[in-house]
Symmetry: C2
């Protein structure tokens, strides 16, 4: 019998690796001989670099670059050992977390630093780049990345634009011919279009420092950018779901480099051969801090269940807490859901004992499974 | 597939019947076609009359009798429909609960009222009596019951003794020849011997109103009673485990009527053909308010597991709370244990939502079981 353990992290208490370890301990307490394959996973949100180190052979490469406001920093990316590929997290160089709140300004903020990381990876042999976007401080449509790779964005006078979303209204000409060929997949977990009320500026601008005064300028800049992409490529990117991710970064990279926009889960699943691993397993155990039948979008157990259903494999979810109405989960291919509590307890107790509770829940669940199998 | 649901009650929240119903609902929410046999059960403690009505065909028969202090009362017993048998609870007529605390006096208290109930049952066709003892107000060695059935207990002058444990020191002659033949099984869940520090008087006397002044007299009375049983029958009853139950009632009925002393669980199991029902089922689900690996003695799931193990049937326990160190439970034949919480919650929430939590836990457990079976 082979088990596959593919958990998410338990926010505020355990990393995905710690969750996987606890579940594996529980299973091995029932039968030390069972093969338990651990894939500590993620729904594709932040924290990917830690995760990648658990999932794949490879190393973190730390390079000199700049943050979104142009200050020199060091930032890491992940270089795969067994393929010519690198995973770069936009938030590492161009993230909001790098910029103090009162210094945030999407008019000037640029993804150039992320572009420098990509160039470093390409210069060191990568032929494929996976770019996780999320937590960006920018609204530049990815023009910073494209510039760092050799792209040119100029105004009607032929003058190169200054970095930042505030100058895209002046954009009149795009030249990306100098950018080298490489495969680019963008992991993006939002569906926002580029423009409008659900667009990059309106929804994510304010947290990046956009004000009622600068928002119209930023919106007009992305609209102008989109128009010029279409003029150059005959591709309309504004309405592509997810084009608004990371301040329009997804739109620019999709439109000008042909980047594929995928969900973080899909990309991790592809890279880790999750589907093949599911197909080769007898039972799949996944885990999530909280699960219910309403908020299914982007939840790891749902992604796992969809793959498992294709191969008719059983999926059990262990959760820190279970909400109401699980029927939609069952319909998607989740076979059973268990909460980790062994008795009445407070949220704090549940969080601080999470590893132990997960271990004993995994033990109980696997005991029942094994009993039923007999 | 046939499921057997054999739960105990959840104290302070649900009767065994309510527990069984909730579990059955959970199973049927997964598959309405599953045959679920419900045996709301008990570990043999008090409350047997309610339970019997759920487990067996029959009726409560309420008769006129007296309480332990001689006052007229009405008290019920259970008459089986499909066998010539009655289940009588000593606590109904001769119980502590019937006597106000300041009126309790084991020197005078008698089991005569319970004897009247037995006689009524025998007069109405019963050939077999099951006597649940527990909660008695008496220390009379069962001489009250025996007297009501026709036994004579007299002193050296040939005078009949007055009722109560206080006069047994004067016992000089026992005559039980007039008592009719019948099968008697006594359900007793304590192991105390008749005499000494672990005996009836020392352990249970004080709660029945024995005082430092009367205790020696009561102890001496039971010792004298035991001596005369041995003179008459050549049977030594004082050291029989459980002989001290119900103020020595078990000793008297075992010694003078050959009553079999069994555990409440064993007796209920025999009457309900629990073992046969287990053997005919594919999965047994039992439940208990709280379970751990330490306090196994007399717990229903342990009794169920022992029977199930004989037939190699899987047993799952659902519990209101799970304690530490479950390995001894697993060793006894329990395959898996699940707690009913679905998230962090208070004890009060867990108690007040117990039925719903049980239902959803049973659903989850059965879903996993069914999944594994495929």
């Amino acid at each position: 019998m082979q088990l596959l353990v593919v958990p998410d992290s338990f926010k505020e208490s355990l990393s995905a690796k710690e969750v996987a370890d606890a579940i594996a301990r529980g299973i091995h307490s029932v039968d030390p001989e069972i093969t338990v394959k651990q894939l500590p996973f993620s729904d594709g949100g932040e924290g990917a670099l830690d995760l990648l180190q658990n999932l794949f052979e490879g190393e973190l490469v730390t390079t000199s670059t700049i943050n979104a406001m142009g200050r020199s920093i060091k930032a890491p990316y992940f270089r795969f050992a067994d393929r010519k590929a690198a995973w770069i997290e936009l938030s590492q160089a161009s993230g909001l977390a790098q910029i103090e709140v009162d210094k945030r300004n999407p008019m000037l903020a640029s993804t150039y630093g992320t572009g420098l990381q990509i160039r470093h990876a390409l210069d060191h042999g990568a032929e494929e780049i996976y770019l996780g976007i999320g937590g960006s401080a920018t609204n530049d449509g990815g023009t910073g990345i494209l510039s760092a790779l050799g792209g040119l964005f100029s105004d009607a006078e032929g003058e190169m634009l200054l970095p930042g979303g505030g100058f895209l209204t002046e954009l009149d000409h795009i030249d990306v011919e100098a950018i080298p060929q490489f495969q680019l997949k963008v992991a993006c977990d939002v569906n926002n279009p580029l423009l409008g009320k659900q667009g990059a500026t309106a929804v994510y601008g304010p947290q990046k420092g956009a004000t009622p005064e600068t928002e119209p300028q930023l919106e007009a800049g992305l609209a102008n950018f989109s128009k010029h992409i279409e003029l150059l490529t005959q591709k309309s990117v504004a309405e592509v779901p997810g084009a608004g991710a990371a301040g329009g970064c997804a739109a620019g990279l999709h439109g000008l480099l042909g980047a594929e926009l995928v969900s973080g889960f899909e990309l991790l699943a592809e890279l880790s051969q999750l589907e093949e691993q599911i197909a080769a397993s007898d039972l799949i155990i996944t885990a999530e801090g909280r699960i219910d039948g309403q908020s299914l979008e982007g939840k790891l157990p749902v992604g796992v269940a969809k793959l498992a259903k294709k191969h008719d494999k059983p999926v059990v979810v262990l959760a820190g807490s279970i909400g109401e109405h699980l029927d939609p989960l069952y319909a998607l291919g989740i076979d059973a859901v268990f909460s980790i509590q062994s008795k009445p307890c407070t949220l704090e107790e549940s969080i601080s004992n999470a590893a132990e509770l997960l271990e004993s829940t995994a033990q109980r669940v696997f005991k029942l499974y094994q009993t039923a199998k007999k």
